[in-house]
């Protein structure tokens, strides 16, 4: 097991990337898909608007990208802090 200060730094870096990912998660679903939809009304996407596209397609695609990005980022972080699984 890595020493205490390294573990703390690792956890802090993890929390930071969680905040960033969860902000994007909220922005594309609750933001673009629901609350900000009136502001996206002017951007047409095939018979509807960008907000509609995010609500029915885009948010799901962003969710997938977020999880794989987080996985990739954390694998790197695990190695950097020497806490990866042998």
């Amino acid at each position: 097991m890595a020493d205490k200060s390294s573990a703390d730094a690792y956890w802090k870096a993890n929390l930071r990337i969680i905040y960033i990912c969860m902000s994007i998660w909220a922005l594309v679903s609750f933001g673009f898909g629901i609350v900000f939809r009136p502001f996206l009304q002017g951007i047409p996407v095939g018979g509807a608007d960008l907000g509609f596209w995010f609500a029915q397609q885009g948010s799901i695609l962003v969710f997938i990208a977020l999880i794989f990005f987080y996985t990739w980022y954390m694998n790197r972080l695990d190695r950097e802090h020497g806490v990866d699984e042998e």
Partner: protein
């Protein structure tokens, strides 16, 4: 070959496959039974999680829910997928590092309290049992429609099949069976959608077709749909017709509820490494998204198809010719097939031999209809659940596609039922018997107890399926609300707050539990008994305009607030618990947790 024989062959072959896999993957130890020996490849686990998660509701009902509401029901799409981001980032890797078998076990150990563990078991049982009922009834309906047996016989066949592979194989058998079930259900769902998208828009991918040009009219498909709906007095499909606030809360409740469902969480105990738990959640969402991005296309295209079937002629301006609707004598066979089930019903109210379909609840349009001599909407029943099942028939696809849809619907219902039954049986045998009531029980005894508990759970679910309480939708709302208000906050605080103690966690779970139950019972009846609701379930009566279906978010908030308030007044957890929290936060050492 007739349709019935085809259905028998396709469904029979899929069942033979499931049972064969179960025999091949028999579980011999508790580790194999509860967690498949933690030897499951993350991609395989992702597909199995997807099948576990996508129930009869996703496969059969969701496209219909979207088709008849439009944009407003996008909540289901975002809510039921967004929960996986929470799972992957906030729960799954840490629970895998913790390395035990059940959700109550984590809560009991982390909060060093049998009380916390028992409260978690109760929440888990309420959530999972209510969920199982829906799956068994769904399977019963699919059997009776496609195999032409009675509902009872259909349910008994379904129970027997689940019994064989779940009791025999445990998590190992269930995982590999679910992989096969995922393949069956996704193929069954996608093939008709691709054909319909090609017919309407010339696009191969339904996800693209939804935003493409409607070949016949030259307008974008969604614009065409909005246009024909408004011509018949309905609300437009892409518009917003409810409150943003409730849509927000409902989406959030579905997300938190998804992340808190025990039968989904335990899937992440089965992968070999912490890194695999993260990756596995990503793959699960890829496999889920294959269906969830197709569903809105299926919904919109089926709605348009139904309307243009009833009003086949358009005027020179491109509007529907309301003077030339479909005659009863010319009804396509799918309408007649489904009318015999009672789920679709027409009634020639004005006796003119023609079908009039419009929104009679719209006063403006009702006046127009009256002037035309129409005496009401003649499509009196259209059960939303038949949309997906009838889809291949509406698009005139060959018989084997219809048989495939039957096998797909059954795969969706059975795979979810098996995952739920495993969560129920492990909570009883592992959390109640092994750790609370009979700590001296041997591994063999525990394995036997798990199998007996599962057999009992199947019997109970079958009985409830035969005598359905008749409030399935409300009960599912309760399951999601409770998962959001109890298990999710408790697990999350257990990982992210080192300071969180027994008192805080138990108080938070109980507060979330009671607040959610109280709010739902106030509007939907005490234990859902009709007539016992304290207030009528209308938006005017809701506190701050919050629908009982959206209350999970508020329940979760109450849980967090109460937990932190109580925590700040009580003493901090012992040193070894704080060390435990530190150790689950780092992946290193997870392999060792396998053998315990």
């Amino acid at each position: 070959m007739d349709q019935f024989t085809l259905n028998l062959i396709v469904v029979g072959a899929s069942f033979a496959l499931y049972v064969g896999i179960a025999i091949w993957a028999r579980a011999g130890s508790t580790s194999e039974f509860y967690a498949a020996n933690r030897g499951v490849n993350p991609i395989v686990n992702g597909a199995a999680t997807a099948a576990d998660w996508m129930s009869a509701a996703s496969f059969i009902s969701m496209a219909g829910l979207i088709a008849f509401v439009g944009y407003g029901n996008s909540s289901f799409l975002m809510g039921w997928t967004g929960g996986y981001v929470m799972l992957a980032l906030l729960l799954a890797p840490y629970l895998r590092k913790f390395g035990r078998y059940t959700v109550p076990e984590f809560i009991g150990d982390r909060f060093y309290s049998q009380t916390a563990r028992v409260v978690a078991v109760i929440c888990l049982l309420v959530i999972s049992i209510t969920y199982v009922i829906g799956q068994m009834t769904g399977a019963g309906v699919a059997f009776s429609r496609f195999l032409e047996v009675s509902n009872t016989t259909g349910l008994l066949i379904a129970s027997t099949v689940v019994f064989i592979y779940a009791v025999l194989g445990g998590m190992k058998g269930i995982t590999y069976t679910q992989l096969a079930q995922y393949c069956v259900l996704i193929v069954a769902y996608t093939i008709p959608a691709v054909f319909i998208s090609l017919q309407l828009t010339g696009q191969f991918l339904p996800q693209v077709g939804l935003f493409a040009t409607h070949a016949e009219s030259g307008l974008p498909l969604l614009a065409k749909l909005d246009q024909v709906l408004m011509e018949l007095g309905f609300q437009d499909y892409t518009g917003m017709h409810g409150s943003y606030f409730n849509m927000f809360l409902f989406t959030m409740s579905l997300m938190i509820g998804t992340a808190g469902l025990p039968h989904v969480i335990i899937r992440f105990f089965t992968v070999p490494k912490v890194a695999d738990a993260r990756k596995s959640a990503g793959w699960a969402l890829v496999f889920i998204a294959l269906l969830y991005t197709v569903a809105p296309a299926v919904g919109a295209m089926a709605r348009l198809n139904i309307i243009t079937t009833i009003y086949p002629v358009t005027t020179e301006t491109g509007a529907l010719d309301l003077d030339q609707p479909l005659a009863y004598a010319d009804q396509p066979t799918w309408m007649q097939n489904w009318e015999t089930t009672g789920l679709l019903k027409f009634e020639d109210k004005n006796g003119d031999g023609l079908i009039q379909y419009y929104n009679a609840a719209n006063p403006e349009f009702a006046a127009i209809a009256e002037a035309r001599g129409w005496e009401g909407n003649e499509m009196v029943t259209f059960n939303q659940d038949i949309l997906v099942l009838a889809n291949p028939e509406i698009a005139q696809l060959p018989g084997w596609v219809i048989a495939l849809i039957a096998a797909g619907g059954l795969a969706a219902a059975l795979s979810t039922a098996a995952g739920l039954l495993l969560a129920i049986s492990s909570a009883i045998s592992h959390d109640l018997l092994k750790s609370t009531l009979m700590p001296s029980i041997s591994e063999k005894g525990e394995l036997l107890a798990a199998r007996v508990a599962m057999a009992f759970a199947i019997a109970l679910a079958t009985w409830l399926g035969l005598n359905p309480p008749g409030f399935a939708a409300q009960v599912v709302a309760l399951a999601f609300g409770l998962a959001a208000a109890t298990l999710f906050p408790a697990i999350m605080m257990g990982i992210f707050s080192k300071r969180m103690n027994t008192e805080g966690a138990v108080a938070g779970m109980l507060a979330g539990l009671f607040a959610t139950v109280a709010y739902i019972f106030t509007y939907l009846g005490i234990f859902f008994v009709p007539g016992t609701a304290l207030l009528e379930n209308t938006p005017d009566n809701w506190i701050a305009g919050i629908s009982p279906l959206s209350f999970g978010t508020v329940g979760a908030l109450i849980n967090f607030i109460v937990a932190y308030a109580v925590m700040s007044m009580t003493k901090e957890p012992p040193e070894e618990i704080q060390e435990l929290v530190e150790s689950i936060r780092v992946p290193r050492g997870a392999a060792g947790a396998v053998d315990h």
